[in-house]
Symmetry: D2
Subunit: 270 residues, 4 copies
C-alpha cells in the first residue's frame, strides 16, 4: 500500500525543522542559493537536504546530529513572529475539539493578533473552508499576514483591517466565531448574526473580569455556555527520577464558549 | 453568500442534541415512528423537530424550553457508551493539535477501547484518510463499533480485533500512531515501522511508571520527546461571584509523544 | 531521655481516632459507661482502650484491626460539625506559616463560622495567647462553640456574637487579623487599628471579585500584599502504578494577605 | 489593654525587613557602627531606624519610601543562603498543620540541607521543645548552622554531622520525624523507633519514584499514609484586570506522610 504513496523526500522550497534537541530547533526554508545555516552546534549545509526524507539526520560541521522534521502547523505558529500574547496550543486545541471544526467550515475571527489562531483554524478548514479575520492595528495586521503566509495558509484566510463591528458580515454562515479582543461582549451581537444556528462562539479571556462580563452577555442568545481554564504541565520522565518540571506557565487565558440559539430564549419564553 | 449554502434545517434520520441546561442534555436520532422522548422536564414531541433548524427551540409538555443543537463529534463521544476509562477532550484535542492531524492523513491505533479517540481522529482525517485501529477484547470491540457507527465514522475507520503487535502493517505510511494500552513500549518498534519519517507517536499513560517506561523506550528512535499533563478546570462565571468550580477531575492521564527518526540516532552517531 | 517523659497511655476522658483505613476513621471520647462503638467493620469495645498507648491496635468483633491514633488539631477540625464551607488545611496551614503565628500571640477573627480557623489558631497561640472571634449568626455561633470545646481550645478563645465592625477592639494589639466574611474590605479599617505595626491581615475569598475588592482596599494602609491560590492533589502511590487521584477539590478559596503599615503610604509621601 | 503591652519599637541588634515593593525587600540587622544600606532606590540610613516601630516608613536618599517590617520566620528562611533546593512555605506549612506540631514537641530530622525546615520547626516547638537534625555534608552543615543562627533558632536546635542511620536516638520520644534525603525509605525503621506511638513521619519526595518507594515501605509499620502534592499560584488582583500570574513554580516536591503504628500490622494480624 505504501508504494502508491508519494515519497516523503524534501525538495527545494520546502520548509524543514532542524532539530538538535528540545530547546534548540530552527524552522528554515530551503532556497536556491542559500547554502548554510549557522548554529552554536556548527554549520548546517542546507544544500545537502533536498532529496533526504523527513526523519533523516545530517551532521553539522561540528559533527552534531540534526534531525530533519516536517513542520507541523504548531511548528509554524510557535516559531512565528509575535508581538501579541500568543494563545497556547493547549487552548486552541481545545477550541477546535469542542467546536468540532473541520475541513470545509467557516470561521469569523476578530483580533487577528499575530495570526496564531487564524493559522491554526485555516489549517483545519482548508481546502474548501476559510477564516475571515479582522485586525484593527496596522502593525499586527502586517505581522499576521507574514506569519500566515509562511505557514502556507493565505489561501484559506481573508484578512481585513478594521473591526468586526463595522463590517458587513454574511449572516448565518459561520460555524465558529472567534473573539480575541479586550471587550468580546461588544461583538457578541455581530457574532450571533454571523453564526449558523447552534454554531460556536469562543472568547479568549486573560482576566476573570472579561470572563464574567462575556459569560453574562451570552445568556439568552447562546446556550451551553462553558467557562474553563486549561493548565499544562511538562513532566520530566527519566528512569528512577520522574517528576513534573519545576517551571510552568501559570496562566494564559480563560476560555468562554457557547452555541447560538436562533432567537433569544427570553423572547421564546412568551 | 449565504443563499448558496445549504439550509441548516433538521431532517428525519438526523441526530440532535436536546439541550435543557448544562447538566441535562440528550442525544437523540429522529426516526420514523418514534414520536416522543421523555425527560424529567416533560415530554419532547420529536415529530415536531424535522423542518426546524439547529439553534431553534421547542417546548416540552411541561412548557420547558429545549434547544436543538447540532451534535459535534464531542457530543457523540461524550454521550457514547463507555466501558473503559475515556480520554478527555482536553487530551485528544492536544494530540490532534500537536500532531497537526488533518484531512487525508492516516492514523494507526492500538487500544480502541470505547472508540473515543478513534471517533475523534476519524472525524479529522475524513473523508480521504482513515484510522486503522486494533482492539483485543471482544466486549470493547463490539461497543467501539457501535459508538463509531453512531458518530457516523465507520467509513473512515478500519477496526481489527487483536493486537497491533501481531498484525501486518503498512510501512512508512501513517502520520500518527496512537498507543492506548497498558504497555505502550512494547508497541513502539511496530509504531516506528508504520510511521512516515517525522510522524508522531502518542501514548496515553495513566501512571507515572508508564510515562517513565515509554519515554525511555522512545529514546534514539524518536526525537522531540514530550511528556505532559493537561489539567482542566471549570469556572463559574457569575456577576460579582466568579470562581473556579469546587469539583474537578484531578487526573486523567499523562501524554508522551515524539516524532519518528528514520534510523536510530545511536547508529547514526558512528 | 525517654524515661522522664510521660507515657503515652490513653486514659478515660481522652479522645481517640479509631483508624480502620484512610476512608473509615472515627473520633471518639472514652467515657465512663460508654462501652461499645459500632462500625460496619464490627463493634469496638471502648472499655479495652484505657491503658493502651496511642499507636496500639485493637480488634473489632469482626476481627478487623483498629489503630488508635492521637487526635491532632486537624482531626478535631475535619471531624467537627460544619454548617459553613470549611477552609481546608492547605489554606490555614499557609496562613499560619506566612504570618509566623506562634505561642503567646493574639488573633482577631471575624466570621467564626464553624470554628475551624479559630480552633487551629487557638492551638498555635496557646497557652499564653488567645483568639478573639466574632460571629453574627446564632446557629454558627453555637456550633462553633461546641466544636472549639471538643477540640479543647475554649480557654484560648474569646467568642463574641456580633460583628467586629461594631465592637470595641484593643488597638495595636493583635498579630493576625483573620477576615472570613463576604465583604472583608468593610473590616480592613478596624483590622488595621487592631493590628500591631507590621502585623498580618488575611482574607478568605471564595470569588475573584472578593479578591479584587479586598486587594484594592488594602493598598496604602498595608504593604506586602499577596494574593494566592493553593491547590491540593492526592497521589495514589502504588508499586508500578503511581498516579494522581482522579478526584480533586478544584477550589476552596483565594487568600489575600498583607502587613500593616502604620500610617498610609499616601500621606507619608507628602 | 494595649498600654500594658510592650511597645513594638525597634532597637539596635534587631533585624528588620526593608520593604520597597514586593520584589525588592532586604533583611538587615541593625548594628553599632553600620550606618547605611545601599539599594537601587537610594541609600537607607540605618541609624535612623532604632526607636521607630515595625510598620513605620523611612525615606531613602532618593526619597523612596521603605517600610520597616518585623521579620517572620519565613522572611528568615526565604532570605537565607541556600545551596540545596529549598522546600517551599506551601509545603512546610502543610507539614506543621497535618502533624499539629506545637510548642514543647520534639522533631527528629535527617537532611538538614540549608536548614529551612529545621528553622521553621524550631520556631514552632520553641521554647521548651527542640529539633534534632542530621546532615552528612560539611558544606550544608556549615551553611545551615549560620542560617539557623541568623533566625535565632540555635537554642531550639541540635545539629549533628552525619547520618541518622548511625546515630543513637531516643526511642519513642519524637512527635515528628522529618526525612529529607534521597532515600527516605532507608530511614523509616530508625524513624519508627524514634517516634512516639501515633507520631508523624514526613518525607520530601521530589520524584514520583521516591514517593512510590517510601509509601510502599511505610505499609504495615505506619497508618494513615497520605501522598500529596501542593500547587501554589499567585493571583494578580487589579481592579478590572484580575488574573492568575503568568509565571508559576510547577513543582517542588511530593509529600508522603503517615503515623506510627506501635507494632507492625502484619504481626498484629496473627
Amino acid at each position: 500500500m505504501s508504494d502508491n504513496h508519494p515519497p516523503d523526500s524534501i525538495s527545494l522550497g520546502d520548509r524543514v525543522v532542524l532539530y538538535l534537541d528540545s530547546r534548540r530547533t530552527w524552522l528554515v526554508q530551503l532556497k536556491e542559493g542559500v547554502g548554510s545555516f549557522h548554529t552554536h552546534a556548527g554549520i548546517v549545509d542546507l544544500k545537502k537536504i533536498p532529496g533526504l526524507k523527513y526523519g533523516d539526520s545530517i551532521e553539522t560541521t561540528l559533527r552534531e546530529k540534526i534531525i530533519l522534521l516536517r513542520p507541523t502547523i504548531l511548528d509554524f505558529i510557535m516559531k512565528s513572529e509575535r508581538r501579541t500574547q500568543i494563545v497556547y496550543p493547549k487552548d486552541f486545541a481545545y477550541i477546535s475539539a469542542r467546536s468540532g471544526l473541520r475541513s470545509g467550515e467557516h470561521v469569523i475571527e476578530c483580533g487577528t493578533g499575530s495570526g496564531a489562531l487564524t493559522t491554526y483554524f485555516a489549517s483545519l478548514v482548508a481546502p474548501s473552508g476559510f477564516v475571515r479575520t479582522f485586525e484593527a492595528r496596522d502593525d499586527f495586521f502586517e505581522i499576521a499576514g507574514e506569519n500566515i503566509e509562511k505557514a502556507g495558509m493565505t489561501s484559506y484566510t481573508r484578512m481585513e483591517k478594521g473591526n468586526l463591528l463595522n463590517a458587513t458580515i454574511e449572516e448565518e454562515f459561520y460555524d465558529l466565531a472567534m473573539l480575541d479582543t479586550g471587550d468580546p461582549w461588544t461583538l457578541l451581537e455581530t457574532a450571533h448574526k454571523a453564526l449558523k444556528g447552534s454554531g460556536f462562539v469562543f472568547c479568549i479571556c486573560p482576566t476573570t473580569n472579561q470572563l464574567e462580563n462575556v459569560a453574562f452577555a451570552m445568556e439568552g442568545k447562546f446556550a451551553d455556555i462553558e467557562c474553563i481554564e486549561i493548565m499544562f504541565r511538562r513532566m520530566e520522565a527519566r528512569v528512577g527520577k520522574t517528576r513534573p518540571s519545576t517551571r510552568m506557565i501559570g496562566h494564559t487565558c480563560y476560555l468562554a464558549s457557547a452555541r447560538k440559539v436562533n432567537s433569544g430564549l427570553k423572547t421564546l419564553n412568551q
